[in-house]
Protein backbone atom coordinates (compact mmCIF):
# COMPACT_ATOMS: atom_id res chain seq x y z
CA UNK A 1 0.00 0.00 0.00
CA UNK A 2 1.37 3.40 -0.93
CA UNK A 3 2.34 5.68 1.94
CA UNK A 4 0.18 8.70 2.58
CA UNK A 5 1.16 12.31 2.05
CA UNK A 6 2.49 12.74 5.59
CA UNK A 7 4.44 9.48 5.43
CA UNK A 8 2.01 7.33 7.40
CA UNK A 9 0.82 3.87 6.44
CA UNK A 10 -2.88 3.20 5.97
CA UNK A 11 -3.39 1.92 9.55
CA UNK A 12 -1.20 4.47 11.28
CA UNK A 13 -2.73 7.07 13.59
CA UNK A 14 -1.18 10.53 13.93
CA UNK A 15 0.79 11.40 17.06
CA UNK A 16 -1.77 11.68 19.86
CA UNK A 17 -1.71 13.80 22.99
CA UNK A 18 -4.05 13.31 25.93
CA UNK A 19 -3.75 16.02 28.58
CA UNK A 20 -5.80 15.92 31.78
CA UNK A 21 -7.23 18.90 33.61
CA UNK A 22 -6.04 21.79 31.43
CA UNK A 23 -8.88 23.87 32.88
CA UNK A 24 -9.34 25.03 36.44
CA UNK A 25 -13.02 25.88 36.90
CA UNK A 26 -14.56 22.84 35.23
CA UNK A 27 -15.11 19.74 37.35
CA UNK A 28 -13.30 17.72 34.73
CA UNK A 29 -11.48 18.66 31.55
CA UNK A 30 -9.28 17.05 28.94
CA UNK A 31 -7.37 18.02 25.83
CA UNK A 32 -7.16 15.45 23.06
CA UNK A 33 -5.03 15.79 19.97
CA UNK A 34 -4.77 13.74 16.77
CA UNK A 35 -1.78 15.36 15.05
CA UNK A 36 -3.01 18.80 13.99
CA UNK A 37 -6.55 18.34 15.29
CA UNK A 38 -6.99 19.57 18.83
CA UNK A 39 -10.09 19.55 20.98
CA UNK A 40 -10.69 20.59 24.61
CA UNK A 41 -13.59 19.29 26.66
CA UNK A 42 -15.00 20.68 29.90
CA UNK A 43 -17.40 18.78 32.15
CA UNK A 44 -19.58 20.12 34.91
CA UNK A 45 -21.55 17.68 36.97
CA UNK A 46 -23.35 15.86 38.16
CA UNK A 47 -25.12 18.99 39.36
CA UNK A 48 -28.64 20.21 39.87
CA UNK A 49 -30.58 20.40 36.67
CA UNK A 50 -33.26 22.85 35.61
CA UNK A 51 -36.83 21.70 36.13
CA UNK A 52 -37.34 21.31 32.39
CA UNK A 53 -34.19 19.25 32.02
CA UNK A 54 -34.54 16.73 34.81
CA UNK A 55 -35.29 13.05 34.81
CA UNK A 56 -36.44 11.49 38.08
CA UNK A 57 -34.77 8.15 37.29
CA UNK A 58 -31.49 9.04 35.67
CA UNK A 59 -29.03 11.85 35.14
CA UNK A 60 -29.37 13.93 31.98
CA UNK A 61 -26.38 14.64 29.75
CA UNK A 62 -26.13 17.79 27.67
CA UNK A 63 -23.45 18.35 25.07
CA UNK A 64 -22.37 21.66 23.52
CA UNK A 65 -19.97 21.68 20.56
CA UNK A 66 -18.16 24.93 19.79
CA UNK A 67 -16.07 25.72 16.76
CA UNK A 68 -13.15 28.13 16.78
CA UNK A 69 -14.24 31.04 14.64
CA UNK A 70 -17.47 30.10 13.01
CA UNK A 71 -20.97 30.12 14.37
CA UNK A 72 -22.72 26.89 15.28
CA UNK A 73 -24.62 25.26 12.48
CA UNK A 74 -26.19 21.91 11.61
CA UNK A 75 -22.80 20.15 11.65
CA UNK A 76 -22.31 21.16 15.28
CA UNK A 77 -25.85 20.12 16.21
CA UNK A 78 -25.28 16.72 14.65
CA UNK A 79 -22.01 16.20 16.50
CA UNK A 80 -23.70 17.22 19.74
CA UNK A 81 -26.40 14.60 19.20
CA UNK A 82 -23.94 11.83 18.35
CA UNK A 83 -21.76 12.52 21.36
CA UNK A 84 -24.71 12.85 23.70
CA UNK A 85 -26.24 9.54 22.69
CA UNK A 86 -22.87 7.79 22.91
CA UNK A 87 -22.23 9.20 26.38
CA UNK A 88 -25.73 8.19 27.48
CA UNK A 89 -24.79 4.60 26.76
CA UNK A 90 -21.53 5.01 28.65
CA UNK A 91 -22.42 6.88 31.82
CA UNK A 92 -23.97 5.11 34.83
CA UNK A 93 -27.00 7.38 34.70
CA UNK A 94 -29.03 5.67 37.39
CA UNK A 95 -26.49 6.83 39.96
CA UNK A 96 -27.47 10.50 39.84
CA UNK A 97 -31.17 11.03 39.22
CA UNK A 98 -32.43 14.59 38.86
CA UNK A 99 -28.90 15.69 37.99
CA UNK A 100 -27.38 17.13 34.85
CA UNK A 101 -23.93 16.44 33.44
CA UNK A 102 -22.89 19.30 31.12
CA UNK A 103 -20.23 18.46 28.58
CA UNK A 104 -18.75 21.22 26.41
CA UNK A 105 -16.42 20.46 23.53
CA UNK A 106 -14.32 23.25 21.99
CA UNK A 107 -12.49 22.76 18.70
CA UNK A 108 -9.13 24.46 18.99
CA UNK A 109 -7.45 23.30 15.79
CA UNK A 110 -9.32 21.75 12.89
CA UNK A 111 -7.25 19.19 11.02
CA UNK A 112 -9.61 16.32 10.21
CA UNK A 113 -11.19 13.62 12.41
CA UNK A 114 -12.74 16.30 14.64
CA UNK A 115 -15.70 14.20 15.76
CA UNK A 116 -13.44 11.34 16.86
CA UNK A 117 -11.16 13.73 18.76
CA UNK A 118 -14.17 15.42 20.35
CA UNK A 119 -15.65 12.15 21.54
CA UNK A 120 -12.33 11.04 23.01
CA UNK A 121 -11.90 14.35 24.80
CA UNK A 122 -15.45 14.14 26.17
CA UNK A 123 -14.95 10.63 27.56
CA UNK A 124 -11.62 11.47 29.20
CA UNK A 125 -13.15 14.67 30.58
CA UNK A 126 -15.91 12.64 32.20
CA UNK A 127 -13.39 10.32 33.83
CA UNK A 128 -11.42 13.32 35.09
CA UNK A 129 -14.65 14.78 36.54
CA UNK A 130 -15.26 11.61 38.47
CA UNK A 131 -18.45 10.66 36.65
CA UNK A 132 -19.09 6.91 36.84
CA UNK A 133 -18.79 5.14 33.49
CA UNK A 134 -19.64 1.55 32.55
CA UNK A 135 -16.51 1.43 30.43
CA UNK A 136 -14.04 3.57 28.49
CA UNK A 137 -14.76 4.42 24.88
CA UNK A 138 -12.50 5.47 22.02
CA UNK A 139 -13.39 6.89 18.63
CA UNK A 140 -11.45 6.81 15.37
CA UNK A 141 -12.27 8.07 11.90
CA UNK A 142 -11.53 6.16 8.70
CA UNK A 143 -11.49 7.76 5.26
CA UNK A 144 -12.42 5.50 2.34
CA UNK A 145 -10.48 6.86 -0.61
CA UNK A 146 -11.42 6.63 -4.30
CA UNK A 147 -8.44 4.36 -5.05
CA UNK A 148 -9.95 1.62 -2.88
CA UNK A 149 -7.74 2.13 0.17
CA UNK A 150 -8.84 3.00 3.71
CA UNK A 151 -6.91 5.69 5.60
CA UNK A 152 -7.12 5.67 9.39
CA UNK A 153 -7.31 9.02 11.21
CA UNK A 154 -7.51 11.18 8.07
CA UNK A 155 -6.34 14.79 8.02
CA UNK A 156 -8.48 17.52 6.39
CA UNK A 157 -7.05 16.91 2.93
CA UNK A 158 -7.75 13.18 3.05
CA UNK A 159 -11.26 13.81 4.43
CA UNK A 160 -12.03 16.23 1.63
CA UNK A 161 -10.85 13.78 -1.04
CA UNK A 162 -12.53 10.70 0.41
CA UNK A 163 -15.56 8.89 -1.00
CA UNK A 164 -16.80 8.35 2.53
CA UNK A 165 -15.64 9.09 6.08
CA UNK A 166 -16.64 6.59 8.76
CA UNK A 167 -16.33 7.51 12.45
CA UNK A 168 -16.58 4.60 14.88
CA UNK A 169 -16.78 4.69 18.69
CA UNK A 170 -15.72 1.45 20.36
CA UNK A 171 -16.38 0.38 23.94
CA UNK A 172 -13.33 -0.90 25.80
CA UNK A 173 -14.94 -3.68 27.84
CA UNK A 174 -16.21 -5.79 24.94
CA UNK A 175 -15.20 -3.98 21.72
CA UNK A 176 -18.88 -3.26 21.05
CA UNK A 177 -19.66 -0.40 18.70
CA UNK A 178 -21.35 2.47 20.51
CA UNK A 179 -21.52 4.83 17.57
CA UNK A 180 -20.91 4.58 13.86
CA UNK A 181 -21.55 7.33 11.34
CA UNK A 182 -20.80 7.23 7.65
CA UNK A 183 -20.53 10.37 5.55
CA UNK A 184 -20.82 9.38 1.88
CA UNK A 185 -21.59 6.31 -0.24
CA UNK A 186 -19.63 3.11 0.24
CA UNK A 187 -20.00 -0.63 -0.33
CA UNK A 188 -20.84 -3.01 2.52
CA UNK A 189 -17.49 -4.77 2.29
CA UNK A 190 -15.52 -1.55 2.60
CA UNK A 191 -17.69 -0.32 5.46
CA UNK A 192 -17.13 -3.52 7.47
CA UNK A 193 -13.41 -3.30 6.74
CA UNK A 194 -13.34 0.27 8.00
CA UNK A 195 -15.18 -0.67 11.20
CA UNK A 196 -12.74 -3.51 11.82
CA UNK A 197 -9.74 -1.21 11.25
CA UNK A 198 -11.20 1.35 13.65
CA UNK A 199 -11.80 -1.31 16.32
CA UNK A 200 -8.18 -2.43 16.06
CA UNK A 201 -6.92 1.14 16.25
CA UNK A 202 -9.03 1.90 19.32
CA UNK A 203 -6.75 -0.33 21.39
CA UNK A 204 -3.90 2.16 20.91
CA UNK A 205 -6.13 4.95 22.13
CA UNK A 206 -7.17 2.98 25.21
CA UNK A 207 -3.51 2.43 26.08
CA UNK A 208 -2.80 6.15 25.75
CA UNK A 209 -5.80 7.15 27.86
CA UNK A 210 -4.97 4.62 30.58
CA UNK A 211 -1.37 5.86 30.68
CA UNK A 212 -2.53 9.46 31.02
CA UNK A 213 -5.00 8.56 33.79
CA UNK A 214 -2.44 6.51 35.69
CA UNK A 215 0.05 9.36 35.50
CA UNK A 216 -2.56 11.70 36.88
CA UNK A 217 -3.41 9.32 39.74
CA UNK A 218 0.28 9.13 40.57
CA UNK A 219 0.62 12.94 40.76
CA UNK A 220 -2.54 13.15 42.88
CA UNK A 221 -1.29 10.51 45.29
CA UNK A 222 2.06 12.23 45.58
CA UNK A 223 0.30 15.47 46.56
CA UNK A 224 -1.32 13.78 49.49
Amino acid sequence: MATRKDGRTAEQLRAMICELKPLNQADGSARFQFGSTQVISGVFGPREGRASNRDSDESTITVTWNRGARMSGPREKEYEGIIRKTLEALVVRAQDPLCVIDVTVQEMLEGGSSLAAGLNAAVVGLVEAGVALHSLCAAVAVALLPDGSAALDPDSEEEAGAEAVVTVAVRASDNAILACTCDGAVSEVRLLGAVQAATDASKTIFTLVRMALEQRLETEQRCW
Binding site: P22, L23, N24, Q25, A26, S29, S36, I40, S41, G42, V43, F44, R47, E48, R50, T64, N66, G68, A69, R70, D102, T104, Q106, M108, L109
Partner: protein, 279 residues
Protein backbone atom coordinates in the same frame (compact mmCIF):
# COMPACT_ATOMS: atom_id res chain seq x y z
CA UNK B 1 -27.23 25.92 36.25
CA UNK B 2 -26.50 27.31 39.68
CA UNK B 3 -25.25 30.90 39.91
CA UNK B 4 -21.81 31.12 41.51
CA UNK B 5 -22.13 31.77 45.20
CA UNK B 6 -19.44 33.19 47.46
CA UNK B 7 -19.73 32.24 51.09
CA UNK B 8 -19.73 34.90 53.79
CA UNK B 9 -16.57 33.45 55.31
CA UNK B 10 -14.82 33.65 51.94
CA UNK B 11 -15.83 37.29 51.57
CA UNK B 12 -14.71 38.10 55.10
CA UNK B 13 -11.37 36.39 54.48
CA UNK B 14 -10.67 38.34 51.30
CA UNK B 15 -11.72 41.60 52.97
CA UNK B 16 -9.56 40.96 56.02
CA UNK B 17 -6.56 40.13 53.84
CA UNK B 18 -7.12 43.27 51.78
CA UNK B 19 -7.22 45.38 54.92
CA UNK B 20 -3.75 44.06 55.75
CA UNK B 21 -2.59 44.75 52.17
CA UNK B 22 -2.40 41.05 51.42
CA UNK B 23 -4.07 38.81 48.87
CA UNK B 24 -5.40 35.27 48.99
CA UNK B 25 -2.92 33.90 46.46
CA UNK B 26 0.10 35.51 48.12
CA UNK B 27 0.59 38.35 45.63
CA UNK B 28 1.14 41.94 46.65
CA UNK B 29 -1.65 44.40 45.87
CA UNK B 30 0.06 45.63 42.71
CA UNK B 31 1.30 42.28 41.38
CA UNK B 32 -0.05 40.65 38.24
CA UNK B 33 -0.29 36.95 37.55
CA UNK B 34 1.95 35.02 35.17
CA UNK B 35 1.15 35.05 31.47
CA UNK B 36 1.51 32.10 29.12
CA UNK B 37 0.80 32.66 25.45
CA UNK B 38 0.62 29.98 22.78
CA UNK B 39 0.65 31.05 19.15
CA UNK B 40 -1.22 28.51 17.06
CA UNK B 41 -0.05 26.92 13.86
CA UNK B 42 -2.78 28.68 11.89
CA UNK B 43 -2.06 32.44 11.77
CA UNK B 44 -4.45 34.35 13.99
CA UNK B 45 -5.00 31.45 16.44
CA UNK B 46 -3.79 32.32 19.91
CA UNK B 47 -4.37 30.86 23.37
CA UNK B 48 -3.47 33.10 26.33
CA UNK B 49 -3.38 32.18 30.00
CA UNK B 50 -3.35 34.85 32.71
CA UNK B 51 -2.99 32.92 35.95
CA UNK B 52 -5.77 30.34 35.58
CA UNK B 53 -7.87 32.44 33.19
CA UNK B 54 -7.64 31.00 29.70
CA UNK B 55 -8.90 32.65 26.51
CA UNK B 56 -8.75 31.40 22.94
CA UNK B 57 -8.68 33.95 20.10
CA UNK B 58 -9.25 33.34 16.40
CA UNK B 59 -8.99 36.05 13.75
CA UNK B 60 -10.62 35.48 10.38
CA UNK B 61 -11.15 37.71 7.38
CA UNK B 62 -13.50 37.76 4.43
CA UNK B 63 -13.97 40.11 1.49
CA UNK B 64 -17.19 42.13 1.60
CA UNK B 65 -18.71 45.33 0.21
CA UNK B 66 -17.83 48.24 2.51
CA UNK B 67 -20.54 50.32 4.21
CA UNK B 68 -21.87 53.04 1.86
CA UNK B 69 -21.06 55.76 4.41
CA UNK B 70 -17.46 54.51 4.76
CA UNK B 71 -16.46 53.37 1.28
CA UNK B 72 -12.72 53.46 1.88
CA UNK B 73 -12.64 51.46 5.10
CA UNK B 74 -12.82 47.84 6.07
CA UNK B 75 -14.68 46.50 9.11
CA UNK B 76 -13.66 44.91 12.37
CA UNK B 77 -15.98 42.95 14.64
CA UNK B 78 -15.13 41.57 18.07
CA UNK B 79 -17.08 38.81 19.70
CA UNK B 80 -16.41 37.63 23.25
CA UNK B 81 -18.32 34.46 23.98
CA UNK B 82 -18.36 32.35 27.11
CA UNK B 83 -17.85 28.64 26.83
CA UNK B 84 -19.94 26.71 29.35
CA UNK B 85 -16.75 24.96 30.47
CA UNK B 86 -15.32 28.23 31.77
CA UNK B 87 -17.52 28.78 34.78
CA UNK B 88 -20.29 26.85 36.50
CA UNK B 89 -22.65 29.78 35.96
CA UNK B 90 -22.10 30.11 32.20
CA UNK B 91 -24.85 28.72 30.04
CA UNK B 92 -24.62 28.14 26.31
CA UNK B 93 -26.47 30.69 24.19
CA UNK B 94 -27.31 32.77 27.23
CA UNK B 95 -26.76 36.51 27.53
CA UNK B 96 -23.97 37.23 29.98
CA UNK B 97 -23.81 40.71 31.50
CA UNK B 98 -20.16 40.71 32.58
CA UNK B 99 -18.98 39.58 29.18
CA UNK B 100 -21.13 42.21 27.48
CA UNK B 101 -19.33 44.86 29.49
CA UNK B 102 -15.96 43.26 28.75
CA UNK B 103 -16.76 43.21 25.04
CA UNK B 104 -17.62 46.92 25.11
CA UNK B 105 -14.26 47.67 26.76
CA UNK B 106 -12.45 45.60 24.13
CA UNK B 107 -14.32 47.29 21.30
CA UNK B 108 -13.19 50.69 22.55
CA UNK B 109 -9.63 49.49 23.10
CA UNK B 110 -9.18 47.82 19.72
CA UNK B 111 -11.63 49.36 17.29
CA UNK B 112 -12.65 52.82 18.46
CA UNK B 113 -9.05 53.67 19.36
CA UNK B 114 -8.22 53.03 15.69
CA UNK B 115 -5.54 50.49 16.55
CA UNK B 116 -6.23 48.60 13.32
CA UNK B 117 -5.77 50.64 10.17
CA UNK B 118 -9.23 50.39 8.64
CA UNK B 119 -8.20 52.10 5.43
CA UNK B 120 -5.48 49.53 4.83
CA UNK B 121 -8.26 46.93 4.80
CA UNK B 122 -9.90 48.53 1.80
CA UNK B 123 -9.20 46.80 -1.52
CA UNK B 124 -11.33 48.67 -4.04
CA UNK B 125 -12.86 51.93 -2.88
CA UNK B 126 -16.60 51.51 -2.43
CA UNK B 127 -16.61 47.94 -3.75
CA UNK B 128 -14.40 45.53 -1.87
CA UNK B 129 -12.86 45.56 1.59
CA UNK B 130 -11.69 43.09 4.20
CA UNK B 131 -14.02 42.40 7.09
CA UNK B 132 -12.10 41.18 10.12
CA UNK B 133 -13.67 39.07 12.78
CA UNK B 134 -11.99 38.52 16.13
CA UNK B 135 -13.62 35.64 17.99
CA UNK B 136 -12.66 35.35 21.64
CA UNK B 137 -13.75 32.31 23.60
CA UNK B 138 -13.44 32.19 27.37
CA UNK B 139 -12.32 28.66 28.21
CA UNK B 140 -11.55 29.11 31.91
CA UNK B 141 -12.71 31.98 34.11
CA UNK B 142 -10.06 32.57 36.75
CA UNK B 143 -10.86 36.29 36.93
CA UNK B 144 -9.92 39.39 34.94
CA UNK B 145 -11.24 38.29 31.58
CA UNK B 146 -10.81 41.78 30.10
CA UNK B 147 -7.01 41.88 30.40
CA UNK B 148 -6.58 38.32 29.17
CA UNK B 149 -8.97 38.83 26.26
CA UNK B 150 -7.27 42.06 25.19
CA UNK B 151 -3.88 40.38 25.18
CA UNK B 152 -5.23 37.41 23.26
CA UNK B 153 -6.88 39.67 20.70
CA UNK B 154 -3.78 41.83 20.14
CA UNK B 155 -1.50 38.80 19.82
CA UNK B 156 -3.93 37.18 17.39
CA UNK B 157 -4.14 40.37 15.31
CA UNK B 158 -0.36 40.70 15.28
CA UNK B 159 0.09 37.16 14.01
CA UNK B 160 -2.82 37.11 11.59
CA UNK B 161 -2.16 37.06 7.86
CA UNK B 162 -4.72 37.44 5.08
CA UNK B 163 -4.39 36.54 1.43
CA UNK B 164 -2.85 39.13 -0.79
CA UNK B 165 -5.24 40.78 -3.22
CA UNK B 166 -4.10 42.52 -6.40
CA UNK B 167 -6.23 44.89 -8.44
CA UNK B 168 -5.59 45.55 -12.15
CA UNK B 169 -8.14 47.95 -13.54
CA UNK B 170 -11.43 46.12 -13.08
CA UNK B 171 -9.96 42.72 -12.34
CA UNK B 172 -9.51 41.69 -8.70
CA UNK B 173 -7.41 38.61 -7.97
CA UNK B 174 -7.28 36.99 -4.55
CA UNK B 175 -3.99 35.13 -4.43
CA UNK B 176 -3.80 31.77 -2.71
CA UNK B 177 -1.36 31.20 0.11
CA UNK B 178 0.88 29.21 -2.23
CA UNK B 179 1.00 31.93 -4.91
CA UNK B 180 1.89 34.92 -2.81
CA UNK B 181 2.92 35.31 0.80
CA UNK B 182 -0.02 36.35 2.96
CA UNK B 183 -0.14 39.91 4.27
CA UNK B 184 -0.01 41.07 7.88
CA UNK B 185 -2.38 43.70 9.28
CA UNK B 186 -1.33 47.30 9.80
CA UNK B 187 -1.57 48.10 13.51
CA UNK B 188 -1.04 51.69 14.62
CA UNK B 189 -0.49 50.76 18.23
CA UNK B 190 -0.91 47.77 20.49
CA UNK B 191 -3.56 48.56 23.12
CA UNK B 192 -3.37 46.60 26.33
CA UNK B 193 -6.01 46.65 29.05
CA UNK B 194 -5.00 46.69 32.69
CA UNK B 195 -7.75 46.13 35.23
CA UNK B 196 -7.90 46.95 38.92
CA UNK B 197 -10.41 45.69 41.46
CA UNK B 198 -11.77 48.19 43.97
CA UNK B 199 -12.60 46.96 47.44
CA UNK B 200 -14.42 49.33 49.75
CA UNK B 201 -13.88 48.15 53.30
CA UNK B 202 -16.43 49.60 55.73
CA UNK B 203 -15.47 51.06 59.07
CA UNK B 204 -15.86 48.86 62.11
CA UNK B 205 -16.21 50.82 65.34
CA UNK B 206 -15.95 47.75 67.55
CA UNK B 207 -12.53 46.92 66.19
CA UNK B 208 -11.54 50.56 65.76
CA UNK B 209 -11.08 50.20 62.02
CA UNK B 210 -11.74 53.08 59.65
CA UNK B 211 -13.02 53.01 56.12
CA UNK B 212 -10.49 51.93 53.57
CA UNK B 213 -10.34 51.67 49.79
CA UNK B 214 -8.04 48.90 48.55
CA UNK B 215 -6.99 48.64 44.92
CA UNK B 216 -6.12 45.13 43.70
CA UNK B 217 -4.33 44.72 40.39
CA UNK B 218 -5.44 41.82 38.20
CA UNK B 219 -8.24 40.43 40.39
CA UNK B 220 -8.92 36.69 40.52
CA UNK B 221 -12.48 35.37 40.20
CA UNK B 222 -12.79 35.01 43.98
CA UNK B 223 -11.69 38.63 44.45
CA UNK B 224 -14.06 39.73 41.69
CA UNK B 225 -17.01 38.34 43.62
CA UNK B 226 -15.93 40.20 46.77
CA UNK B 227 -15.02 43.56 45.26
CA UNK B 228 -17.25 46.57 44.81
CA UNK B 229 -16.01 48.00 41.54
CA UNK B 230 -13.52 47.76 38.70
CA UNK B 231 -11.30 50.26 36.94
CA UNK B 232 -9.79 49.34 33.59
CA UNK B 233 -7.14 51.48 31.94
CA UNK B 234 -6.10 50.85 28.34
CA UNK B 235 -2.54 51.87 27.59
CA UNK B 236 0.05 51.18 24.97
CA UNK B 237 3.54 49.98 25.72
CA UNK B 238 5.26 52.04 23.09
CA UNK B 239 3.59 55.40 23.63
CA UNK B 240 3.55 56.07 27.35
CA UNK B 241 1.98 59.49 27.00
CA UNK B 242 -1.30 58.24 25.55
CA UNK B 243 -4.12 56.38 27.22
CA UNK B 244 -6.61 54.64 24.99
CA UNK B 245 -9.41 54.16 27.43
CA UNK B 246 -10.52 54.43 31.00
CA UNK B 247 -13.51 52.44 32.16
CA UNK B 248 -15.22 52.55 35.47
CA UNK B 249 -18.83 51.54 35.30
CA UNK B 250 -20.37 52.44 38.62
CA UNK B 251 -19.10 50.69 41.71
CA UNK B 252 -17.19 52.16 44.64
CA UNK B 253 -16.57 55.93 44.30
CA UNK B 254 -12.88 56.82 44.07
CA UNK B 255 -10.84 60.01 44.18
CA UNK B 256 -8.82 61.31 41.20
CA UNK B 257 -5.53 60.35 42.86
CA UNK B 258 -6.57 56.68 42.61
CA UNK B 259 -7.26 57.07 38.89
CA UNK B 260 -3.86 58.72 38.43
CA UNK B 261 -2.03 56.04 40.36
CA UNK B 262 -3.78 53.27 38.44
CA UNK B 263 -3.03 54.94 35.11
CA UNK B 264 0.67 55.09 35.96
CA UNK B 265 0.66 51.45 36.99
CA UNK B 266 -1.20 50.58 33.81
CA UNK B 267 1.38 52.28 31.59
CA UNK B 268 4.12 50.44 33.51
CA UNK B 269 2.33 47.16 33.04
CA UNK B 270 1.70 47.85 29.34
CA UNK B 271 5.45 48.30 28.84
CA UNK B 272 6.08 44.94 30.52
CA UNK B 273 3.39 43.30 28.40
CA UNK B 274 4.88 44.84 25.29
CA UNK B 275 7.84 42.51 25.70
CA UNK B 276 5.45 39.56 25.69
CA UNK B 277 3.75 40.85 22.57
CA UNK B 278 6.99 41.50 20.74
CA UNK B 279 8.65 38.27 21.84
Amino acid sequence: MAPSITTLSEQAFVAQAAREDQRVDGRRLQDHRRIKAQIGVQPGNVEVQLGTTRIFAVVSASLVTPYPEKPSEGMVVIDLAPSPMADPSYEPNRWNEDLREARAVLQRALIRSRAIDAEALCVVNGQLAWSLRIDLKVLDNGGNIIDCACLAATLALKHFRHNEVSVEGDKVTVHTLEERRPVALTLHHIPLCVSFGLMELPSDENKGLGEKLVVLADPTNVEEKCMQGRLTVTASGKDSAMLYGIHKHGGAPIGPEVVLRCSEQAVQRAMELDEVVDG
